[in-house]
């Protein structure tokens, strides 16, 4: 809803413009509708004009032929009453209209109707001129008075009504917009989530439910594609494993076969070493894809990192890493009891990949130091060696270039090698951080930082 206030204020001006236009349209419609009637009814045949014309025309011999015709055309009758209430002149007077009036009669009809004929009167020197218009042509207000206070508050009343109308209109506009925004906001959020490649499940009722359904469908398609991609990688890596076992097995047998010539033994050793690289690649590839598409749930449990690190180092040394490389473990006293919630297998794998990198990049041999420390809120695992280190160029490449597993375009200068990508993914899956640097002396140092869990 945070964007809604901004949204409404952005459209506030246009709302008021709309209200103004509405008012103008109303006035225009009123003018057009009543303009005709007003100009007609208040034209030459209007009671005021007609009274004046007849009064001016009236003489002892009555009115002119022309005026008489005009009256007939407009179905108006006329009479002149003298001071005693007797009709002394008339024109087209209907039969039902009496010719003698008392003062009470005059007082009553002068305000309204005479036998249902709306009548209008004019005071003249020689009597009272009365014009009768056709029945149902005019409505006369018989109680035609207003308190002066009512007249005074009238402009205020009109302005108030207008203001209330505008407020009500605005409320209707606000709530309908808010309803739309309330429904569109989860849709926007879902589309944002979708754009990061994660699945969503929207449930919205009402007019926007179709859009929600489409978003859900898109999410399903995306999930299915991710699943298919992960399955594909998993299938390929599965099928490679058995043949690779045989290549590795036989290569090692030939390398250790004293009956074979030295040359052949050396070449078999190369095959074995290269197959071992493919083996690491296949294992990393599968795990990277599982983590990338979130196909593999993490088996997180409280793990004492000092124990994990010692156990990893002991396994490494027991398996034998050759005479050229040495491994040492340093655990600070406060880190000894450090426990974090993690998947122990994955953390071991990340450390293993880093150690393997140090060994692979320093075939001439190096000293590898594994250390565990507590730095403020984090536990830090560091893998450092005193080998050749990284060139500035390589370091920049690791920081800047995307990995081919994560890239969607076809740039050629992509980073390769899955080892560090896997480390990065494992660290991210544990909400940790990851930093590579050259050490002050020589060699390379990688630090993994994980937040403490209590």
């Amino acid at each position: 809803m945070k964007a809604f206030g901004k949204y409404i204020s952005k459209y506030l001006l246009s709302f008021f413009a709309f209200a103004l236009v509405l008012l103008l349209v109303n006035i225009l419609a009123f003018a057009l509708t009543f303009g005709g009637i007003v100009s007609r009814e208040y034209g030459a045949a209007s009671p005021a004009n007609m009274l004046e014309a007849v009064a001016a025309d009236l003489s002892a011999s009555g009115i002119s032929e022309e005026r008489s015709q005009e009256l007939t055309r407009n179905q108006i009758w006329a009479m002149l009453l003298d001071a005693s209430g007797r009709c002394i002149w008339e024109a087209s007077l209907p039969e039902e209209i009496p010719t003698q009036y008392t003062i009470q009669d005059v007082a009553v009809f002068s305000k309204g109707y005479l036998q249902d004929y709306p009548v209008f009167v004019r005071n003249m020197d020689n009597g009272l001129l009365v014009l009768g218009y056709p029945k149902d042509s005019f409505m006369k207000l018989t109680g035609n008075y207003f308190p002066i206070r009512a007249i005074r508050v009238f402009p205020l009343f009109v302005t108030g009504i207008l203001a209330i109308d505008i407020v009500l209109l605005f409320l209707v506009y606000y709530f309908s917009k808010r309803k739309i925004a309330k429904n569109t906001e989860p849709i926007m959020a879902s589309i944002k989530t979708l754009s990061t490649g994660k699945p969503v499940d929207l449930s919205i009722r009402g007019e926007l439910s179709e859009i929600a359904d489409s978003v859900n469908q898109a999410s399903q398609v995306l999930s299915r594609q991710n699943q298919a991609r992960a399955n594909w990688i998993s299938g390929v890596s599965h099928d490679i494993r058995t043949p690779l076992s045989m290549i590795m097995g036989y290569a090692q047998r030939i390398a250790g076969d004293h009956g074979a010539s030295g040359n052949i033994q050396q070449e078999a050793e190369i095959i074995r070493a290269q197959s071992a690289k493919i083996k690491d690649l296949v294992q990393d590839l599968n795990l990277v894809s599982q983590l990338e598409y979130e196909m593999q749930p993490l088996h997180k449990e409280p793990v004492r990192l000092s124990k994990l690190l010692r156990s990893y180092a002991a396994d490494l040394l027991n398996a034998g890493i050759g005479g050229k490389h040495s491994v040492e473990v340093e655990i600070s006293s406060e880190a000894e009891t450090a426990v974090i919630d993690c998947d122990a297998r994955l953390i071991s794998r990340a450390i293993g990949n880093l150690v393997q990198n140090s060994i692979n990049h320093n075939p001439q041999g190096c000293h590898i130091s594994l250390s565990l420390d507590c730095i403020s809120e984090n536990v830090s695992i560091t893998v450092a060696d005193n080998g050749v280190g990284l060139s500035a160029e390589k370091l920049r490449e690791l920081e800047e270039k995307p990995h081919y597993m994560e890239s969607t375009d076809e740039r050629l200068d992509l980073r390769h090698g899955l080892g560090l990508l896997l480390v990065q993914q494992i660290v991210e899956a544990h909400d940790g951080g990851f930093q590579i640097e050259n050490t002050a002396t020589q060699g390379c140092k990688v630090s993994l930082k994980f937040p403490f869990s209590l």
């Binding site: 998993s234 599965h238 099928d239 490679i240 494993r241 058995t242 690779l244 076992s245 045989m246 290549i247 590795m248 097995g249 036989y250 090692q252 047998r253 074995r272 197959s275 071992a276 083996k279 296949v282 294992q283 599968n286 599982q290 593999q296 088996h299 004492r304 000092s306 124990k307 010692r310 156990s311 180092a313 002991a314 040394l317 027991n318 398996a319 040492e328 473990v329 340093e330 655990i331 009891t337 297998r345």
Partner: protein, 233 residues
């Protein structure tokens, strides 16, 4: 480490890939294992397990007529032999299913022959201890059944803790055993802060087995990790 006493054990290999069976058999035969039985599917595997009574079964998870996990369950119905899974799947769920059912180890393909042999030896050693529970060290002989050390004719008794410590190290002879593993063996799960007690026990064991306890040659400290016991060469 001398593992030759394990070479007489009978091993059952079940895998649907004949080429792989051939290679694994060759690796094991090269190493000195002489009793090898192979089977290509679940039915043959079960029949071989009944007829040959192997000491260790190495099973593939994917078999043409079923999966290795159910084969293990059927074998386990009447015998308690150790089982190692060999499989092209490496998903954690498979691993847990395998070990949860009581498998002794799990080896993911592709594997290096040495790694494979190490695992096989480790499982065999754990399940079939040397008949004579006697370990010869540089300056003495340890008799585990009597909990005694014979140091040049002088008989020194071992306390229960010292016995457990030496036994744990002897089971992993020539390999580093972490302080965590030793503390767990001596004091049970999640031992915290027993490092000093462990040091004290190690010091007393050294007094009994070493000629010069301040310059140990049999029970070595591996800095930052743990200890290692070396047998007499």
């Amino acid at each position: 480490m001398d593992n030759s006493f394990l070479h007489s054990k009978k091993l059952l290999l079940v895998d649907d890939e004949p080429e792989l069976l051939k290679m694994v058999s060759a690796i094991l035969a090269d190493e000195g294992f002489s009793h090898l039985v192979t089977a290509a599917n679940m039915k043959e595997g079960l029949a071989a397990a009944k007829a040959e009574k192997p000491d260790l079964a190495i099973l593939d998870v994917c078999l043409p007529d079923g999966d290795g996990f159910s084969l293990m369950e059927q074998i386990r119905a009447w015998t308690d032999i150790p089982v190692i899974f060999l499989t092209a799947r490496d998903e954690a769920a498979d691993k847990l299913a395998g070990l949860g059912l009581g498998a002794d180890d799990y080896i993911a393909k592709p594997f290096l022959p040495q790694e494979f042999l190490l695992r096989v030896y480790a499982v065999l050693r754990r399940c079939y201890k040397k008949d004579t529970a006697v370990l010869k060290l540089d300056h003495c002989t340890v008799d585990f059944s009597r909990a005694e050390v014979d140091k040049g004719g002088e008989i020194l008794p071992l306390t229960a803790m010292e016995h457990k410590l030496l036994e744990t190290l002897a089971r992993n002879e020539g390999r580093i055993v972490t302080v965590d593993t030793l503390c767990e063996a001596l004091w049970g799960d999640n031992p915290f802060g027993y490092e000093n007690s462990l040091n004290a026990h190690v010091r007393r064991v050294r007094e009994k087995i070493e000629a010069d306890p301040s310059k140990p040659v049999s029970l070595l400290t591996v800095k930052g990790l743990g200890y290692k016991l070396l047998a007499r060469k």
